[in-house]
Amino acid sequence: MNHWPFILAAYGATLVGVGGLALASWREMRRAEAAADSLKRRP
């Protein structure tokens, strides 16, 4: 049995999982901090 498709699938799943988590967290942080900054600037 060729093991490489399984190896690549495991590394691909890790990349997608960790990358997706990091991207979603970064976007949430940017959005929340931008909203807080824009409210701070309002008189």
């Binding site: 399984f6 190896i7 799943a13 990091a22 967290s25 929340a32």
Partner: protein, 239 residues
């Protein structure tokens, strides 16, 4: 030290430069470890090439379990000192821990197919890890419901502490029950894996741990900013 960092302003001053530093250092270490694991180690005499999956599977398992230990410690801190930053830390850890517990299950299942000849087996280690994944999901739902109802965070904190009961069950499942999953091959005092195959793990494990820490800081900063916005909107509505 903990009480000094529990001040949100002081925490943010530290978290702003630490977030990208931890995250990008983690990315560099994890990528190097993955490259080394794919190209610079020999295949195992029994598992053959599929042994390379351990360089992502083992860190995912350790971070899935370590994440819950950190969540429980933060929850305990909140129950004792009632500091909101401890509650925020626990809620920020949960989604990251759930992703790593899920990755442990997915990569383990992918490894199981060529090695055991099956994607899944209801044995002690796999079932207890699946339970931890569900407990993470339950925590995320509970914390969200508690926040929506204006709760004080005590119920999710108690759940976080109670969930630690799963950690020794996962850890000792391969000792207590006769399972398909192999016994402990990496411990605090040593490893049964040969050094020529083990070393990339010393890059992927700290690399993914640093990414985990960076993600937790991002989520904590997001929650603190959301709280600021809500407080400011309440003040504006009251004027």
């Amino acid at each position: 030290m903990i009480h000094a960092l529990a001040n949100p302003a002081r925490f943010l001053k530290l978290a702003r430069p630490l977030t990208p530093a931890l995250f990008w250092a983690g990315v560099a270490l994890a990528l190097f470890g993955a490259w080394a694991g794919l190209t610079r180690t020999p295949p195992d005499y029994l598992q053959k090439e599929s042994v390379r999956i351990l360089y992502v599977h083992v860190p995912a398992a350790m971070l899935g379990m370590g994440g819950w230990a950190a969540l429980a410690a933060a929850s305990l801190g909140y129950l004792i000192w009632r500091h909101p930053l401890a509650s925020i830390a626990a809620r920020a850890i949960a989604p990251a821990g759930a992703v790593f517990a899920g990755l442990c299950l997915v990569t383990g299942s992918i490894w199981g197919r060529p090695t055991w000849g099956t994607w899944w087996e209801w044995d002690g280690r796999l079932t207890s890890m699946l339970l931890l994944f569900f407990v993470y999901i339950a925590y995320v739902a509970l914390a969200r419901a508690d926040a929506d109802r204006g709760g004080d965070g005590r119920v999710p904190a108690l759940f976080g502490v109670a969930g630690t009961v799963l950690l020794p069950i996962i850890r000792y499942s391969v000792v207590w029950w006769n399972t398909l999953h192999q016994g402990q091959s990496i411990g605090l005092t040593g490893s049964s894996i040969d050094d020529s195959m083990l070393w990339p793990l010393f890059f992927t494990l700290p690399g993914l741990a640093l990414i985990f820490a960076g993600v937790v800081l991002m989520r904590m900063r997001a929650m603190l900013a959301q709280q600021k916005v809500e407080a400011r909107l309440k003040r504006m509505a009251a004027q």
